[in-house]
């Protein structure tokens, strides 16, 4: 009877010990790292990237190492299958915060498992960040990659882990956007034009009744812009003012306005005698050519270049001033002319 009682007590003690061990094991069970995330500097396959890990330690335990293991599954119970192409053997720590003091453990680091080591110290349960440079991304595009993060008491990533948790990222091919810019050469001509040619108005100028005692004048405008690397040249073409076989003499060289003389000429400047015209407007590099760039001096030769730029030019609006004088011998009639403005550019 005594022997049986002793055996019963031994059995009960064994059960209690097993329960104690079970309870003890459950008390030291690994906890999940919280607020885990990772950011890759580039998701491109096989690219050399910087991987930034953020997480919060949960266990205030002595921690001597961290491991970042790249796998095709985040489940710790499954064996880790390394994604093709991933390589952390050349990785380095760019920065660390929170729990710090880690360096790369080059001995225990493998292609898909980066081990960081430090002198063991009790981890603070604070958010921590580890910026890992020179990681070669996995080579397969469109793949979800999981990084299993574990903390260890050992300094070499061995033994049972303290806390763990997984994060994820995906390899993505770069997205390309393409477009073509065509050669641009835009010119607009009218009585008035917007500097960017968005609006134009009018296509004729009436100088009224010509006089031997005072000059008659009028204006029109054109605007030009181009992306030609050598710029543009603008030409004017057309006869002087005529009425049947009668013509008003075109000024073949730069000449002031002299009422009482037969004169027809133009320029592209702000004149005071007569008071007509406006200087070129706009941020482009276009300018009037020399023969049409002096205030109060006028010239007209059909086919002349009147404005140009030697560079790509934003819009420049030019105001063309027309002046007409007639002598007393000018035959009466209706005098008119049509002018064509032409811009050319080399691409």
């Amino acid at each position: 009877m005594r022997k049986i009682k002793t055996q019963y007590l031994l059995s009960l003690l064994t059960v209690l010990i097993i329960m104690a061990i079970t309870i003890s094991v459950s008390l030291v069970q690994a906890l999940q790292l919280t607020d885990r995330s990772m950011l890759v500097s580039t998701p491109q396959p096989s690219a050399t990237a910087t991987h930034t890990f953020n997480f919060t330690y949960v266990s205030a335990s002595s921690t001597g190492s961290l491991a970042f293991q790249y796998c095709t599954s985040p489940v710790f119970d499954y064996p880790c299958s390394a994604p093709a192409g991933v390589d952390v053997t050349g990785a380095s720590i760019s920065s660390q915060s929170g729990n710090t003091g880690f360096s790369v453990d080059g001995i225990n680091t493998t292609n898909n498992r980066l081990v960081l080591t430090r002198t063991p110290a009790v981890a603070a349960t604070v958010p921590s960040q580890y910026v890992i440079a020179n990681v070669t991304n996995p080579s397969t595009a469109g793949q979800s990659i999981y990084v299993r993060i574990t903390t260890y008491a050992s300094i070499d990533g061995s033994g049972a882990f303290i806390d763990n948790g997984a994060v994820a990222f995906a390899t993505v091919l770069p997205f390309n956007i393409g477009a073509n810019v065509p050669p641009f050469l835009q010119i607009c001509v009218a009585i008035t034009v917007a500097p960017d040619c968005s609006t134009t108005s009018g296509d004729s100028v009436n100088l009224g009744t010509l006089s031997t005692s005072s000059v008659r004048f009028g204006t029109s405008q054109f605007s030009v812009g181009t992306n030609s690397i050598s710029g543009y040249t603008t030409y004017v073409q057309g006869t002087t003012m005529t009425s049947g076989n009668n013509a008003i003499t075109a000024l073949s060289s730069q000449t002031p306005s002299f009422p009482g003389n037969s004169q027809f000429g133009i320029n592209l400047r702000d004149n005071s005698n007569p008071n007509v015209g406006t200087d070129p407007f706009g941020s482009g590099s276009g300018t009037p050519t020399a023969n049409y760039n002096t205030p109060n001096l006028f010239k007209y030769t059909s086919g002349d270049s009147i404005a140009q730029s030697t560079l790509p030019s934003d819009y420049n609006r030019m105001t063309v001033s027309y002046i007409v004088n007639v002598s007393s011998s000018q035959p009466p009639g209706v005098y008119a002319s049509t002018f064509t403005y032409l811009a050319t550019a080399t691409f």
Binding site: F169, G178, N180, F184, N227
Partner: protein, 104 residues
């Protein structure tokens, strides 16, 4: 670039209707198309932005939503460009990387 709208795909775990604003992936203000829950069909009434600083620019997030999980919500992106009159002619390309960051 702008996100003209959110296309609710085969979302099953919650109600997702772009027109009524019941979706979780919320666009950032710089990339929210017309600024409302209507698809932009004309680029002239959409707002565009492009960040070429080399750092990631957030274009959408579910972190501010009551429900933060995202189930098959598609960002409908529009790209647009306009040259100036002096832009040299030729072929132009731009490249963008898209990444998603989740916190567990």
């Amino acid at each position: 670039m702008t996100v003209a709208g959110i296309n609710c795909g085969s979302t099953t775990s919650y109600s997702c209707v772009f027109a009524t604003g019941t979706y979780n992936l919320v666009r950032n203000a710089d990339y929210d198309g017309r600024g409302d829950n209507t698809y932009g069909s004309d680029i002239t009434d959409e707002g565009f932005a492009w960040d070429e600083t080399g750092t990631f620019d957030q274009i959408a997030s579910s972190t501010g939503s009551a429900t933060k999980v995202v189930d098959d919500e598609v960002l409908m992106m529009h790209f647009a460009s306009t040259p100036s009159i002096t832009t040299p002619f030729g072929a132009y390309t731009a490249q963008a990387d898209f990444v998603a960051v989740a916190t567990y």
